[in-house]
């Protein structure tokens, strides 16, 4: 389903737009009542980055710093926003940070 284009003033392009939005939200609501998939049925109050994303960061840090990959370990992480995670790493004793998005694309790597 495609939502109508939004006007510069913030309203919807045509008067019937709100009805479409309501329909879309109802459809989303109907989807969400089915609940999470089995692999998503647990969570923690402190949301860390998924393990695979943390390790993608570790791999990238090893590449960019030249530190042996067996000496690069993620030591902390947190969700930055809906798409991105911040990962703290120990790279051969040096603190390093990395930002990775939910698709596994490395956004940035830098020394802390």
């Amino acid at each position: 389903m495609t939502l109508p284009a939004r006007q510069a003033g913030g309203g919807w392009a045509r008067p019937g737009g709100w009805a479409l939005v309501a329909l879309a939200l109802a459809a989303l609501g109907a989807c969400s009542t089915s609940g999470p998939t089995p692999d998503q049925m647990s969570r923690t109050t402190v949301e860390t980055a998924p393990a695979d994303l943390q390790l993608l960061c570790a791999n990238e840090v090893a590449k960019t710093t030249g530190v042996e990959s067996s000496k690069v370990l993620p030591v902390g992480s947190r969700k930055l926003d809906a798409r991105n995670y911040h990962v703290d790493l120990n790279a051969g004793g040096k603190p390093t940070t990395c930002v990775v998005d939910a698709d596994g694309k490395i956004v940035s790597v830098q020394a802390a």
Binding site: T33, G35, P36, P38, D39, Q40, M41, S42, R43, T44, T45, V46, T48, P50, A51, D52, L53, Q54, L55, L56, N59, S70, K71, V72, L73, P74, V75, G76, S77, N90, G104
Partner: protein, 232 residues
């Protein structure tokens, strides 16, 4: 005298400052502990609500269903990684162990991990494995835990043995770290922070994992706020 009066005049202020500093330190300690104690929640498909998952609820769930919540049962998941198949990755915060498979996938198992103060992180390897292993509590556990004392000489393998059906011994180089990935006679503890630093799995799961891994396999342990680091 001047000094005495000066000290006398500032004493209440110092006391107030000391009280403030103590309260601040206590507040920070509580905040840190709260941040590190990442409480687990599981999704209840019947009520369609997220519920806190603690030791009491976990035991009740096990008594009722004879299995752990769905999230902690073995399943194949997407896992984007440069690590080679056969590598074990442990996410201590989320209570999952991943065994990397070909094609950017992994088998995910539920685990129980170290309680507060016993968590650790690092890069180690499987040094050896054992079936129905003997459990010998380390000296510091014998000293602090009266239940461990009677087994100071070693508890033979069996259904009541804390190591369960299989044990994978974690080594740092050629050194035994004293940590293991092992089974458990308390299957309801999967998904909780309960151990003294070992990684525990249901007996069926550790038997399955044991059948799939090779001695020498790399093991990466991720644990936010860990007190101890191994192999890095």
């Amino acid at each position: 005298m001047t000094k005495f009066f000066a000290r006398n005049r500032t004493e209440p202020g110092r006391r107030r400052f000391a009280r403030f500093a103590i309260l601040l330190a206590a507040g920070l300690a509580v905040a840190t502990a709260t941040a590190l104690a990442a409480g687990t929640q599981v999704y209840d498909s019947k009520t369609r609500k997220w519920v806190n998952y603690d030791r009491t609820k976990a035991y009740r769930h096990w008594k009722q269903h004879k299995q752990v919540p769905e999230a902690f049962r073995p399943q194949m998941v997407k896992f984007r990684t440069a690590e080679k198949p056969g590598t074990i990755i442990i996410d201590g915060n989320q209570h999952f162990l991943y065994l990397v498979q070909p094609g950017q996938k992994a088998i995910r198992y539920g685990i129980g991990v170290g309680r507060e103060g016993f968590g650790w992180a690092g890069i180690v390897r499987i040094g050896r494995t054992a079936e129905w292993p003997t459990w010998t509590p380390p000296a510091e556990m014998v000293a602090r835990d009266p239940n461990a004392r009677k087994w100071a000489g070693g508890q033979p393998g069996g259904p009541d043995n804390p190591l369960g059906a299989r044990a994978l011994y974690l080594y740092e180089g050629d050194q035994d770290t004293i940590y293991r990935i092992h089974g458990t006679p308390e299957p309801w503890t999967i998904g909780l922070d309960v151990s003294s630093g070992c990684i525990r799995m249901n007996n069926d799961d550790i038997v399955d994992l044991h059948s799939r891994i090779e001695v020498g396999a790399k093991v990466i342990v991720l644990m936010q706020g860990a007190a101890l680091y191994k192999g890095v």
